[in-house]
Every structure is written in C-alpha cells, then in structure tokens.
C-alpha cells in the first residue's frame, strides 16, 4: 500500500510510477520528472490499468487540465497520523496523549478544510487518508476493482472524507477508522450489478441524492432491489468479515438508500435514532453523487461547504451537534494548555 516512501519520491523529484494499487487509478495523479517537468493525467476514469497509463505516458499527449498534490500538507498530515499511531499502539493508548493529539489534529486540519488560501483540494484529502487508512487485501482489492470506475471514484471520495470527518467526531482508533474506510469503499454494492435498465439506473442515481423516492418505485423495481441486496451485499460482507475487526460497521452496507428524514429505504431512519457515525454515513453518501468527478482544478472545497450543502444537516441541528463534539476536545485543551483554540468557521 502507499506509504511515506511514495511521498519521498515526490520530494526527490523522481519519476513516480503507479505502485500497483488501483484505488488511486481513478484519480488524478501527477509525476515529477527529474528534469522538473510535470506530467499529468488527463481526467479520471480513462485509465484503469498500469499498462494503459504507461502507454499514455509514452504518447506524451497534451492534457486538458492539471492538478497537483500539496506535498507539504500531505507529508505533515502523514507525520501527524504517525504520531497518532504511536500513541494508540501502546496497548490501548494513553488517553491524555490522545486527547492532546486530537486537539492538535483539529487545529491543524481545520484551516485546510475551510475555504481560503490554506484550503486543500479533494485530491489531497483522498491521498492523505488513502495513504494511511486504505488497507485492502488481495481479495478485497479484486472485489473493489470490479466496481464500475465511477463507483470506485465516488466511494474513494466517500471513504476519504468520511474517515476524515470521523476523526473530527472523535472516532479515533486506527483499526476502527481503517475498517470504516474499507466499508465505505464498498458502498452501493447493488449497483455493481448490470441488470438495471437505463431508466432504472438514472432513477437510482437520483435516489442517491434525494432519498425517499423509493416509495414511488414500482413493485418490480423494489423486488429487484430486494434481490440485489440479497445477492450482492452478503457476499461483500462475507469477504470483508474476514479482515474487519469491528464487524458492526458492516451494517452500513445496507444503507445505500437511507436518509435522515425517515423516508429512506429499507429502515426509514430518522436522525433522532442514529449515532454520529450513522448520520455521517448517510450524509456523506448523499454528498458525493454517482457521477462525482475529482475536479481537475484545485478545488478548494471545505468541510463548511460540505455541511452547508446538506439541508438535512441544518434541519436536524447537526451543526450544533458537531460543535458540541468538537468543542469537547477544546474544553480539554483549555485545561491542558490554558488557551482557546479556534476553529475557523465553527
């Protein structure tokens, strides 16, 4: 899996080739050649194998747009996460040290997630979180690669942002976050099947962003949904069960059509009966749509926009929930450091 040596290659200006783990294939990457030239991929989804990429490189085609990684930010993030790993590797971890780390993590992270000069792009977030938390074995990787390329992209975005936000919500356990990342990568398993007609597909895509329309589905479609869940999700659960420690997370694989308003499928949850991570899952699954594209411009979207984009969050007072959760860490900071840490925009 990607590790710090990958980042060192960036710094040293060596030519980087794909390390063979495809989760990054759908996304824009860049290589720095030794002579200082940058070689950039055209857009996501066009290349799905290493050989394709190498062929493209040899052709040296012009690019439509560019995207770059914020190496310093990523490296800084990796170092902080390594520190996190050190703290919790000591048996169950020193809670005081973990608390301090959480405060510093939030303090470091927040400016880069809000709009502004210091904000980072989605690519940076995906890269950082993937480097640290993406941990697929061979079987799982094979399973993931069978997903349509659009789904791979969307799920990778979901997994990256979901895991990132989970750290803000206080789910600071490396194994847990790794498991969570993995589960989110396999979201929307029923859509790996190809039996859907085009109209059904488009309807289902719409369902993602506006859940609750499931009730308007024909009985035939509903039957198909039933069947697909039964056919696809259990297999994925069985595959993931072997490597996942927190098996309770597997329930999220059934939540593709859930919403926070009570009109979702199949459980019809409302936010009143859900934990923070439950809410985050549903929210994040709606935030990134099926045709999500990792913007080739340096998109400076931040958490704030993520929250504002979701009416559900606002309606259900989730912004105040987030405030309570994050400020719990800050109240500790007051005790520890006698100072007040401000989150921009919170």
């Amino acid at each position: 899996m990607l590790d710090e040596s990958f980042l060192k290659n960036i710094q040293n200006g060596d030519l980087i080739s794909l390390v063979g783990h495809s989760p990054l294939v759908p996304f824009n990457l860049f290589w720095i050649k030794k002579n200082g030239k940058k070689v950039l991929l055209k857009s996501t989804g066009e290349f799905s194998s290493r050989s394709d990429l190498e062929k493209w490189l040899n052709k040296n085609l012009n690019l439509e747009s560019e995207s770059t990684l914020n190496e310093n930010w990523i490296q800084d993030g990796v170092q902080r996460l390594n520190r996190f790993r050190e703290i919790i590797s000591d048996n169950y971890g020193d809670p005081m040290a973990l608390q301090e780390w959480k405060v510093e993590w939030i303090n470091w992270l927040s400016p880069s997630l809000w709009e502004g000069e210091n904000a980072v792009s989605r690519l940076d977030v995906c890269f950082l979180m993937g480097v640290f938390f993406c941990d697929l074995n061979e079987n799982e990787e094979g399973l993931f690669l069978n997903y349509p390329i659009e789904l791979q992209k969307k799920n990778y975005l979901m997994a990256s942002y979901g895991t990132l936000m989970a750290t803000l919500l206080g789910y600071t356990d490396e194994s847990y976050l790794k498991d969570y990342f993995k589960v989110l990568l396999f979201w929307d398993a029923p859509f790996t099947q190809t039996i859907w007609s085009e109209s059904e597909k488009s309807f289902l895509k719409q369902e993602w962003s506006e859940p609750g329309l499931g009730k308007a589905l024909s009985s035939e479609t509903m039957t198909n949904v039933h069947r697909l869940y039964q056919e696809t999700t259990p297999k994925i659960k069985e595959t993931l069960k072997e490597s996942i420690q927190f098996k309770g997370l597997l329930k999220y694989l059934d939540w593709s059509f859930e919403s926070l308003s009570g009109e979702g499928y199949p459980f019809g949850f409302t936010v009143k009966e859900l934990s923070d991570l439950d809410v985050l899952n549903i929210f994040i699954s709606h935030r990134f749509s099926y045709e999500e594209n990792l913007s080739l411009e340096a998109e400076k979207e931040g958490l704030k926009k993520l929250f504002e984009a979701s009416g559900e969050f606002k309606r259900n007072n989730l912004s105040s929930r987030l405030e309570i959760i994050v400020k719990t860490a800050f109240s500790r900071a007051l005790e520890l450091k006698g100072g007040y840490f401000e989150i921009v925009g919170l």
Binding site: K251, K272, S275, I325
Partner: protein
C-alpha cells in the same frame, strides 16, 4: 421511541406527573378495561408496571417497568426523560432531547476498554458547581462501561460506546449508547443481581442503578441501539436521603418474546439478511462459555468420541429423567460424573465432548445411535473381537451386574449385603428390581420372566458342577433354605440343579441374592466368565472367517452370553451393549487420543510459531531502527566533515571564499576588544578551568529560533533531525572561530596584563592620592593658620594696598581647589564604577558562553531523539543573550555618555582651576606670600602641592582618556558581536527558507 399514549392509573395521580404530561398527547385513564391498550399501568396489582417504590429488579419480567419517587419529577431532566418514556417524545441526541434546558454538553466515543477509568474521571469532573457526588458518577460510569465490555466480549453489543453528557440548571446527566446485537432484557437482568465475588458481572447494572437518582434503560429497535441514561439532581433542595433511586426500563425485548417473534420477521429484515434464525439466550458470566470469547482467545477444537458422548448422554438421561435439559449447564453435567459407572472413561472426557453432550441433551431430536454404529463398524472385526474377549476377561462381578442392568441405580431398593440381620425382614436386595421387596418376591436377577424356567445364573465353580451345589450368594443360612442357585454348565445333562424356593419346584421363582461381596461371588463369577470367554474364543475364528460385521458379532456373542450366564434376552442385550460400548469407546479413544495430542501439539507449535514470528518482527524492527540511526549518524558525520572542509576553506588563503581583509579586521577588532575587556582576574579564576571543548564554544546565536520565536514542531521526524544536523554544523563552524578568537584572546591577555600593571600603578597612585589627601588635610590646616596670619598681616599692614588680598579670597581659592579636587575624585569614582559594570557584564557573557559549550557537548553525545528540549533551551539562551547584549550595549552607551559628561566636568574644573591660577588675585596672593619667608615657604609648599594635585589631576585625566578608549573599544567589540549575531541570524533564516522550500 415509546409508543405509549395511554396510561392506566388507578388512584391519585401525582401532581408532578400531571405537570410532566400536561403538554403531551398522553391520556391518563382509570378504566381497567383499557388495560391492554395501555403500555404503562399503575395500581392494578400484579399487572402494574409502574411502581412508586424502590427498585425491585427481580420483579421485572418482561415489558416496560418504572420504579420512581415522585419527587424526581420536580426536576427538568427527569421530566423530559419521563416524557420520552411515556409520550414517546425525544431523540437519541441530548441536544435535541433536552432542548431548552441544556446549558453545557459534551461527547466522546469509547472504542476500546483500555481507558474506562480515564473516561469516568472525565465525567466525574464535569458537573462543576452542581452538588453531585463525583464518587457516584464514577461508580455509575465504571459499572456500566464494564458491563458493556462484557457484552461486547459476548458479541451482544459493538464498540464504539458513545457517551453524551451535560448539565442543566439543576441536573447532570450521562447518556451511554451503543449498537446492540440481539441483546435481550434477560441480559440486563442477569447483571442486576446480588454481588457475587465469583461473578462480578452479576451485579454491575444493579450497582449502576443504585448510584443515580434516575436511571433509564431502553432499546431502539429500528437502529438496534441500547441506551442507558443516568441523571443526578445537583440542587441542594433535593432531599436525596428522603428519596430513593428511580428506574425506567422499556423497549427491550425479552428472550421469550423475541423467540415468539421469530416466525414473524418483517420483510425489511429478511432483505437485509439479519440473522434471525438463531436466538440464543446468552448468559453473561465472568468465565464466559468458550464460544462467546473473542477470537483472540484461541481455543483448541478437539476430536469428539461419539461413543463416549452417547454413553454419557444415555446415563444422564437415565439418571435425571425429569430434568429440563434446556437449562442444563456444564456444572450440572460435571456434578454427575462421580456417578458414572466407567470412571476411567469419564476421566478422559475433553471439553469438546462436554459441549457436544450438552448440545445433544438440549436437543432431544439428536440421535447418536447411527453415528455410533457407524463408528463401531469402522473398527476391524478382529480387533473388536479380541477386545471384547479381553474386556470380558477383566470384567468383575460388579461390573457384570451393572452391565446386565442388574444393579439399577434408579431402583428404590437397596442391595442388602446378605447378612443375617439385614435379611431379617423379607425385604432383600435384588439386583435389578424395582418391585417392592417387602413381599416375598423372588426374582431371578434380571429375569422376571424366567421365574418359571429352570435355568438360572448361578455363580459357582466349575468343578462344583459335578456335585449338587447348594450355594446362595451371600446368605449362608439360605443354604438350608429353599432358594439356592447352582452354577451349572451349559450342558443340561449335567448337574444343574434348579433349586427353587422352599418348595423345590422348578417352576418357582428362584431367588438370587447378591450376598456379601466375598470370594464366593467372585469365584463363581470367574468360573462362569472364563467359560463364556472360552466359548467366544472358540467361536471367534468362525466369526472372523464369516466376515461378519461388528454388529453381527455382537449378536453372536449375545447368544453365547445369554446361554452361559443365563441371562434373558433383554439383559444379555444390555450386557453386550455395555461391553460393546466400553470396548468401542476404548478403541475409538485410543485413536482419538493420538489425534487430540497431535492437535494439542500443533496448537502449541502454532502458538510458539506466532510468538517466534512476533519476536522476529520485533527484531527486524529493531534492526531497521538501528540501521536508520546508523544511516543518520553517517549522514550527520559526512555533513560535519563537509562543513569543516568548507569552514577551513574559508580561512584558507587559497580558497575562493577567502576574505583576508574581513578576517584581519575581525581579528584586529577582537584583539582590541579583548584587551580592553579583559577581566582583572585572569580567566583561570573562573569557577572551573576551561577544557579544550569549553574553549571551543559555539555562539549562542546559533540556536534555531525563527523570527517569531516560535517553538519547533514537536515531531521527532526528519525536520528535527535535519535541523539538528544544521545546528551541529554551525556549532563546529563557530568552534573554529572561537578557537581563533581564543588564541587571539591569549595574546590580548598578555597585553592586558601589561596594561593591568599600569592600572595597578594607577591604583597605587590612587593609593598615593589617598596619602595626598591626608597631606592635603594637613596642609589645609596649615593654610588655615596661614590664612589667619595673612588676615592678621592684612589687618596689621593696611598700608600695603598693592597686596590687597583678603584672607577670604585665599580661603576662596583654597575652597575652590578643594571643591575641584572633590569633584575630580567623584568623577574618578564614577569612572571606576562604570568600569566595574562593564567588567561584570563581560564576565556574565563569558559564563554564558561556557554554559553553551557544555550544552553543545551534551548535544554531541545525546541520541537524536533527545535533542528537542536541548535545542529549545539553546534557542531560549540565544534569545536571552541577544537581549542581554542589547541591554549591555545600551548601558554601555549610557556609561559612555556619563563618562563624557564627567569629562566635560573635569575640563570645566580644570579650566576653572587654570583660570583661577591665572587671575591677578592668585598671582597677587602668590606674590604677597613672597615677602614673608615663612609664608613664602608655605605658599611654595602649597604651590608644590598644587602642582602635585595638578599632575595627579592630569594623570587622572589621562587615565580617564584611557578609560574612554577602553569604552570605545568595548563599544566596538559589542558592535562586532552584534554584527556576528546578525550574520548568524541571516544564516539561520536562509537555512529555514531552504528547508521550507
């Protein structure tokens, strides 16, 4: 949330409850007929689930239950909780549930059980000024966290456990929730018992409920959550001593109702493949059943011996025919082991077999016969036969009795040893009988139906068969009585006497009395046994040749046994079955034992291999670390070498960067400054002599502090390592510079010493000046007398108008002189003071430099990881020194100004002196003094003194000038130091920029 909309309340409704329910949809009814429509009921006897009394956990069976003190309803958080329970209003998030009353809230997630104490302390601290006992909070939290951890080990709940907490004006609450996996009400109740030192789980929930003012326990079915809420009243008006803890339990399925629900699973759940097929009542215990332990605890799965399992199952079922095996536990099973007839077999039973036995006992549909038969058929016939024979050969009489079910433990009759007194009554022991032995029942062992037959089993000796044997097992007196049994041969022609009872009727029942366990029994049995064995052996070859199955072999042996031992068909079948089971058990066990041992060995091997693997990983990791450190060390060394080369190149005339002029200027300036600032005390007077290293001090300005004075990042990663390497580089560079400066310093010291001598001379002159002072005083007195004389002379010679000098004028002159002298002395003192100050500051600077050298030494020797604090302290030192230098520069400036002012004063005074000396009066005074020889002498003396004063003054002035130059030199040195500091700062900035880039 709760669906309750109607509450049946018989009796007076407390006002507090009315208030709580006032703005909700809940209907309070008194109509008992609506009982079934009401989830909550009060005042209707056994059907009530609302109690206004203390918590009684044992009365909670199923469905919701409330125990409360009405005073609890007077506070805001409990009011909202009751509203949630009774009216279904509220949410999981407390900011939603307690909207409007929540003042402050917090939340955290627990992802493992490693820091429960920390979290409970966190909660205990939160209420602040509210009067809530932190001990209770801590106990509540620890109890519940521990309970949930046990549940997670049993896979009843999943981590994370999410904790929300907050305060309102009068209350503090904690809400704990987590995902639940088929946790039932009984699991909660299992932990609501009395304290048990052997089972700490048993009382955890009860303990928690006793530490709060109100506890709420409920489940959310849709999202599969389990929620606990604890609430404390922190207002002093709440009279806790007159109240009791309240409890609300609702929306938790009991095991039974969940089982009933099994057949009515909604579609949603089936679509999502919830495993609803298996509902298991999971019991929580300190020593969890193996299957509920986490996968981390590796358990060995042993091979099961089905024959033994079957034997034990049959035994248990027979021994405990009326037991409900659903509740049958391992402890119950093990309690029966001492009663199992084959103690050898039971001693080798393993845990897998015990599990299997329990499973089969609980499920009556499972039949092992087929399996056992199959296993038996796997045994080679030859082995089987030979083992049957050898087993029979070893079988004792008692075992035979048991095997033939002639000694039924289920019987109410006791086996009477056959002694006379014991046989007094008609009741005798009859093996295998259930009938009442008070009657004259004579039964042949195991053969009721054979009472009319002639042949019976009689233990006896073979040789006795030729005689008429009358033996009664265990009862000598019976020999004279009717009932005797004679062991007989198979051959009916031989002496086989049927001795019936008193009537000697062949058709009467015979009585076999198992008498004393004496030689008679055993001998008889041995004879018969050996006969049977012989026959079987004879038959064995035939059976083997026929290629019969083991079952068929059993049938054949059964016939032989039946004939030889005189057993009925049923009993002989039982006998053979027991024998066969025993033999099969042994054979199977021998095979399994090897396998199980292999399994154990393999398990041990795997364990050791895992440990080895871990060790290897650790070693590899350590090796990597060491290699990493080595690499870094070599890198830092190479960089040091590079730096040294470059620094030596700087001073090498042939180098490109060589700047001779700069070096010369710096050296010259350093020389002057050193000379002027050299301490009176030689450098050797410092606290400790300078070592070679100490002399090579790095400049404190090398400390890595950026412009804003921010601290370095706390990471111990490469940033810090690189900086450390840079620091060392700078240190070594300045080391070289320092060496040069020190050598120059020594030269300057030499010069200084020479100058010092001059100063000492000046001091000695100062000493002379003191003497001169004294002389001056003496002269003053003389001048006084002279003055008087002059006055007298003036008075007396009024005609000497030319002289016209008044004594006052002379006095004035003298006074002026004195004043000037005093002022000069003052100036001198001031100069000395300023000198001392400068020397003091210089000493401090040198001290700091020494400390820096020491620290630099430590830096060299310390491992990389420990340098963080050192760098910080060095940085701080540097800033402090820089500030001090600035201060000193300022002070020097002030001193310089002072010196200048003194200079001017001295000039002024000298000018005045000069002026005075040039005035006619003074000249006149000088002239007039000539006329009187004595006066003249005195005046001359005064002049000489004056001259001396003048010379002294000039000398002082000279010294002043020298001091001025010293000051000037000090200033120059300071400037050069400042320049150096600036250079180093620039270099640091460049380094930082490079790094950032």
């Amino acid at each position: 949330m709760s669906d309750a909309k109607k509450i049946l309340w018989k009796g007076r409704v407390p006002d507090e409850l009315r208030v709580v329910l006032s703005d909700s949809d809940v209907i309070l009814t008194q109509n008992e007929a609506e009982q079934n429509q009401c989830a909550f009921r009060y005042g209707i006897g056994g059907a009530s689930n609302i109690n206004m009394g203390p918590i009684n956990w044992s009365s909670i069976k199923s469905g919701p239950s409330i125990f409360f003190h009405q005073e609890i309803l007077g506070w805001e958080i409990p009011q909202l909780i009751f509203k949630r329970v009774l009216a279904g209003e509220g949410a999981l998030g407390p900011e939603e549930s307690y909207k409007g009353v929540l003042l402050k809230a917090g939340s955290f997630k627990i992802l493992n059980p490693g820091s429960l104490g920390y979290y409970s302390d966190l909660l205990a601290r939160f209420p602040g000024n509210l009067r809530v006992n932190p001990v209770n909070i801590r106990s509540f939290a620890i109890s519940l966290f521990s309970f949930l951890d046990y549940c997670s080990q049993a896979d009843l709940i999943n981590y994370p456990v999410e904790v929300d907490y907050g305060i309102s004006q009068n209350c503090f609450f904690i809400q704990i929730h987590c995902d639940s996996n088929e946790l039932h009400l009984e699991n909660i109740l299992d932990a609501a018992g009395e304290q048990d030192p052997n089972n700490p789980v048993k009382s955890l929930v009860k303990e928690a409920s006793s530490k709060v003012d109100l506890m709420e326990v409920y489940g959310l079915k849709s999202s599969s959550k389990l929620v606990f809420t604890g609430c404390w009243i922190g207002n002093p008006n709440y009279m806790r001593s007159q109240s009791f803890p309240s409890l609300v339990v609702y929306q938790l399925d009991s095991y039974k109702s969940a089982k009933e629900r099994k057949g009515r699973i909604p579609d949603i759940q089936s679509v999502n493949n919830h495993s609803v097929d298996e509902f298991q009542r999971v019991k929580l215990a300190e020593s969890l059943p193996k299957k509920y332990k986490k996968q981390k605890e590796v358990t060995i799965e042993m091979v099961v011996n089905p024959v033994l399992v079957k034997r034990v199952v049959e035994f248990v079922r027979k021994y405990r025919p009326d037991t409900n095996f659903e509740e049958f536990e391992l402890s119950d099973l093990r309690a029966l082991y001492p009663r199992f007839p084959d103690q050898n077999a039971i001693s080798r039973i393993n845990e897998s077999e015990e599990d299997e036995i329990l499973t089969i006992l609980r499920d009556a549909n499972v039949d092992l016969d087929e399996q056992v038969e199959h296993v038996k058929e796997q045994i080679p016939a030859e082995d089987y036969l030979s083992r049957i024979v050898s087993s029979l050969e070893e079988m004792s009489f008692d075992d035979a009795i048991v095997a033939a079910e002639l000694d039924d433990e289920g019987s109410t009759n006791e086996v009477v040893p056959g002694s006379e007194e014991e046989d007094g009554a008609k009741a005798q022991k009859f093996s295998g009988e259930r009938e009442d032995l008070t009657e004259e029942n004579q039964k042949v062992s195991g053969q009721r139906q054979d009472l009319t037959e002639e042949t019976q089993l009689i233990p006896g000796e073979k040789e006795d068969l030729t005689e008429e044997l009358q033996k009664v097992a265990g009862e000598r007196e019976d020999l004279t009585e009717e009932s005797q049994l004679i062991s007989g041969k198979n051959d009916e022609d031989k002496t086989k006497k049927i001795i019936k009872g008193s009537k000697e009727e062949q058709k009467e029942s015979l009585r076999v009395i198992k008498g004393e366990k004496d030689q008679v029994d055993n001998k008889s049995w041995e004879v018969k046994r050996s006969q049977t064995v012989e026959r079987i052996k004879e038959k064995a070859e035939e059976l083997r040749l026929k290629g019969l199955t083991n079952k068929e072999i059993d049938e054949n042996i059964k016939l032989i046994v039946s004939e030889e031992l005189g057993l009925s068909q049923g009993k002989s079948e039982s006998f053979i079955k027991t024998l066969s089971d025993d033999v099969s058990d042994d054979i199977v066990n021998e095979g399994i034992h090897v396998i199980n041992e292999n399994i154990k060995q393999r398990f041990r091997l795997e364990k050791v291999e895992n440990q080895l693997g871990l060790r290897e990983k650790q070693v590899a990791k350590m090796k990597q670390l060491i290699e990493g450190l080595k690499r870094e060390l070599s890198q830092s060394k190479s960089r040091l070498d590079e730096f040294e080369k470059s620094s030596s190149a700087l001073s090498n005339p042939e180098s490109e960067n060589f700047n001779q002029e700069l070096i010369n200027n710096e050296v010259a300036a350093a020389q002057e400054i050193r000379a002027s600032l050299a301490d009176i005390e030689p450098p050797a007077s410092h606290a400790s002599p300078q070592t070679e290293d100490e002399r090579q001090l790095p400049d404190p300005s090398l400390d890595l502090v950026n412009e804003e004075g921010e601290e370095q990042p706390e990471s111990k990663q490469e940033n810090f390592k690189a900086k450390n390497i840079e620091l060392e580089r700078e240190i070594s560079k300045l080391k070289n510079e320092k060496t040069k400066l020190e050598s120059e310093n020594q030269n300057l010291l030499r010069k200084f010493k020479e100058g010092q001598e001059e100063v000492l001379e000046a001091k000695s002159e100062d000493g002379d000046a003191d003497a001169l002072k004294k002389m001056n005083e003496a002269l003053e007195s003389q001048v006084e007398s002279l003055k008087n004389r002059l006055t007298f002379m003036y008075e007396n010679s009024k005609n000497n108008k030319d002289i016209a000098i008044s004594a006052n004028e002379v006095q004035k002159v003298i006074e002026d002189k004195e004043r000037l002298f005093k002022e000069k002395m003052e100036v001198q003192e001031e100069l000395e003071r300023s000198k001392a100050e400068v020397r003091k500051r210089d000493r401090i600077i040198k001290q700091k430099e020494l400390e820096l050298v020491q620290k630099a030494d430590l830096l060299k020797n310390k491992p990389i990881g420990d340098d963080q604090d050192l760098v910080k302290s060095l940085e701080k030192e540097k800033t402090a020194l820089v500030l001090k230098l600035k201060e000193q520069a300022g002070e020097l400036k002030a001193e310089t100004l002072k010196t200048k002012s003194f200079e001017q004063k001295v000039k002024f005074l000298n000018a005045q002196l000069q002026k005075f000396q040039n005035t006619p009066k003074a000249r006149g005074a000088a002239k007039s003094a000539v006329t009187d020889p004595k006066m003249a002498a005195k005046l001359k003396q005064a002049e000489v003194m004056n001259k001396k004063f003048k010379e002294a003054g000039e000398k002082l002035q000279k010294e002043l000038g020298e001091k001025k130059t010293e000051l000037h030199k000090t200033k120059l040195e300071n400037k050069s130091m400042e320049l150096k500091i600036k250079d180093l700062e620039k270099k640091l900035l460049n380094l930082a920029k490079k790094k950032a880039a």
